[in-house]
């Protein structure tokens, strides 16, 4: 991890001595203090700077800095760290963008405030040359808003015209410019219909709420991009001159790799060692490890379990199985039709209605009264009827809901997920890691009671093993001291054996696996079998409750898993899931095909094998411990273990949709009244200046109250 190659990959591009780390476990002020004190006792680190909100630490170092040592130090202090490369470092990516947004808001805020100051005396009855002068000052103060603060809306409106999708930016720009031109014409003609103040405050509010939404989304994104599917790592490559270490990005076809226990395999290839145990749950959801023999295929993204082995690389990066999934994913997400939300629909209608109304009004009023008055009223209608609720009621609701979800451990990438969640009819779960914890545990044994001595022997035999079964034994009997075993041996694919008190003991897998959906191992003494142990992937403690809860809410519930049929069926029985919707032994492509057959389906999963399905589903959710592929292909990530978050998500979605609708109803009513008044000629700048902020204020209050 400390080769020059590795370091240069993570070095900050514009500062040689700086590295960025993502640090998990920051809780409070003392954590910041602790981390920032590091330079005092570590000579190789000059400064440490913590960004608490994004959980990011920036470190300035001297030449003999070692990444591995720093990560060890973090671990000692109780945190988990990971270096961030240039592309992963979202904080820096968004920095420039955030600063510009903030500047635009500041300019808009300052100008709006000052315009209001100068308009108050005019409303108070000031007339004559002072009033004209004040209005001209307002005009000047409006220019920075028009030509600086509003720039993002112009790009948005331009895109909306170019791609022929109506978005809310277009009416905002139209209202802004109508308000400006209308007011300026009246200012020049020395009339009183001047709307600089209402238009400016409207724009300021929209800019601020949008910034709020953006900040919350950025935070969410930086969290969810944490775990890498195939981490950039150093790999031992065997050459004629011994082994050299290489960055996994630079492995070539034909290289011979030495894979260490617990390492994620970086490429597809064939096994050169006699045998190997590989955890493939990430790739296909199978809960039990696979034992591979010489000459068999090894896949990138799977994990070496207990013994290091040699492999010959045959395919790298995008040619690997997992690489193919990634590229399908990228193509699919481009093909996916954009989801049009309810408020976008309303926005389109509203724009159409307001504009046709104002054109009609112009001619009708023109015919009956005069065209001068007609123009006044038609333009007043456009300014007044600008969709407030759509322009900032919706983003504000999204922002607050996103924050609330975040507090409950639900990371959401896009606000319109809430609306999609409401439409869900069917929910599919992946099994391993989603319904279950992904760890094996002992469910039963024969004979029913096991002597402590046998337990000690088993623990002794499994002492060094990293096989999932070894963990299951250790968890079950954590209070037993392992026995001292001599001649200990691990035979890959078979089990472990050793000597104790002059007898030969072994723990071996038993063939009875598969009948009951359990995995079985036996303890043998010399040639006699002493006991059988049955294992299963245990359910999360809250899975049953959540499934029951969802079933009561009339959702169709199913399982799609890559695991063996009898194991999946056993789980389906346990949590009472309808057999019609249980699919087992599915490849990633098969999962995708199943999802395609159901409308409004929600998929919840964690593995790379789920990623195609997650991407296709109406709502894709990845759970804690997921690999980055499923994170990237899903819109929602649960950061807490278990499925309770799903119930929370449904609750928040319903609440936010309700608020969205009350806001919309209120705004439509308000716009209707304001529009009618404008058409009848009752609206003057004072009325607009009172009406518009009040409607905004009510919408803000309603949103806050609803999401408290």
């Amino acid at each position: 991890m400390d080769t020059e190659e590795f370091k240069s990959f993570y070095r900050n591009p514009n500062k040689e001595s700086e590295y960025t780390f993502y640090v998990e476990g920051l809780q409070c002020a003392s954590c910041i203090h602790l981390l920032e004190k590091i330079p005092e006792f570590r000579p190789d680190i000059t400064t440490v700077e913590v960004n608490f909100g994004l959980s990011i630490v920036k470190v300035n170092v001297t030449a003999d800095f070692k990444i591995s040592q720093f990560l060890e130090l973090l671990e000692e202090l109780g945190y988990k760290g990971a270096p961030l490369s240039e592309n992963e470092n979202l904080a820096d990516k968004y920095k420039a963008e955030n600063r510009t947004s903030l500047k635009r808001i500041a300019v808009a805020g300052a100008c709006t405030g000052n315009i209001m100051l100068f308009v108050v005396p005019v409303y108070g009855g000031l007339t004559g040359s002072y009033a004209t002068a004040f209005n001209w000052i307002s005009f000047v103060l409006f220019l920075p808003i028009l030509f600086y603060s509003a720039i993002p809306f112009y790009t948005g409106a331009w895109n909306s015209l170019r791609y022929r999708v109506i978005n809310v930016d277009l009416p905002i720009v139209i209202a802004l410019w109508t308000g400006f031109i209308f007011s300026t014409v009246n200012l020049v003609l020395d009339k009183t219909e001047i709307y600089y103040d209402s238009t400016a405050s409207f724009l300021f509010l929209i800019l601020s709420t949008r910034f709020l939404v953006k900040r919350i989304q950025q935070k969410t994104l930086s969290d969810s991009s944490l775990m890498s599917f195939i981490p950039v790592q150093n790999v031992e490559v065997k050459t004629e001159h011994g082994t050299v270490s290489k960055l996994s990005l630079h492995i070539k076809v034909g290289d011979t790799l030495v894979i260490q226990p617990n390492q994620i395999i970086p490429a597809d290839g064939v096994l050169l060692s006699v045998s190997a145990d590989v955890d493939i749950s990430l790739l296909n959801g199978e809960s039990l490890p696979n034992t591979l023999g010489i000459g068999m295929n090894v896949h990138a993204g799977t994990r070496c379990l207990n013994k290091s082995f040699l492999m010959k690389v045959e395919k790298v990066s995008s040619d690997t199985e997992i690489g193919k999934i990634v590229s399908t994913l990228e193509n699919d997400s481009l093909k996916k039709t954009p989801f049009v939300t309810f408020s976008e629909n309303i926005a389109q209608w509203l724009i159409a209605i307001v504009f046709s109304l104002s054109v009609i009004a112009f001619f009708v009023i023109g015919a009956f009264i005069n065209y001068d008055e007609a123009l006044n009223r038609a333009l007043a209608l456009i300014v007044i009827a600008c969709p407030c609720a759509l322009a900032f009621g919706t983003p504000l609701t999204y922002a607050l809901s996103l924050r609330k979800a975040r507090d409950l451990g639900i990371l959401i990438k896009n606000g319109n997920v809430f609306e999609k969640v409401i439409q869900i009819k069917t929910i599919f779960f992946d099994k391993t890691g989603t319904l279950t914890s992904g760890h094996l545990s002992i469910v039963s044994n024969f004979p029913h009671t096991i002597e402590d001595e046998w337990k000690a022997i088993i623990l002794g035999l499994e002492h060094r093993s990293t096989h999932p079964l070894a963990f299951a034994f250790r968890n079950a009997w954590s209070n037993i001291v392992p026995a001292k075993i001599t001649n200990q041996e691990e035979i890959i694919g078979k089990g472990v054996s050793g000597q104790f008190n002059n007898s030969h003991y072994s723990v071996e897998s038993s063939q009875s696996r598969g009948e009951s959906g359990y995995m079985c191992v036996k303890l043998k003494k010399d040639d006699a079998t002493l006991a059988y142990f049955y294992f299963a992937d245990e359910l999360h403690p809250d899975t049953k409750n959540v499934i029951k809860n969802l079933a009561n809410k009339n959702y169709e519930i199913g399982i799609i898993s890559g695991d063996k049929y009898n194991i999946v069926e056993k789980i389906a029985d346990d949590v009472k899931i309808n057999k019609d919707l249980v699919f087992a032994e599915c490849t990633p492509q098969k999962k995708l095909d199943i999802i395609k057959d159901f409308p409004f389906v929600c998929m919840i999963g964690d593995g790379a094998n789920d990623s195609l399905a997650l991407n296709q589903a109406h709502v894709g959710i990845s759970v804690k411990g997921s690999v980055s592929l499923s994170h990237n292909s899903s819109e929602v990530c649960f950061t807490r273990p278990g499925l309770q978050s799903l119930v929370d998500l449904i609750k928040i979605s319903r609440r936010s949709q309700q608020i969205l609708k009350t806001n919309l109803a209120f705004a439509l009513l308000y716009n209707f009244l304001g529009g009618s008044l404008a058409l009848l000629g009752f609206v003057n700048p004072l009325v607009a200046a009172i009406l518009m902020p009040i409607s905004s204020l009510l919408i803000i209050l309603n949103t806050y109250r609803g999401l408290k």
Partner: protein, 66 residues
């Protein structure tokens, strides 16, 4: 009322000055991170017994994590 001819430009210059100050601070990174400094104020900066405090906060964070 002549005073107004002096006061209004003055007010506008003031306003402009504050906007300029904000823009300057913003481009220097003053508002990049709004959460950490708020917590940093709780840290004592002098005569801090590093070792004992380290252990405490370390344990605290470990407790929090698990």
């Amino acid at each position: 009322m002549n005073i107004i001819l002096f006061m209004i430009p003055l007010a506008l210059i003031f306003a402009g000055g504050f906007v300029a100050a904000f823009l300057w601070a913003s481009s220097r990174g003053q508002f990049d991170d709004l959460e950490t400094p708020a917590l940093r104020i709780l840290i004592e900066d002098k005569n801090f017994d590093l070792n004992t405090k380290n252990d405490e906060s370390n344990e605290g964070s470990k407790r929090g994590v698990t």
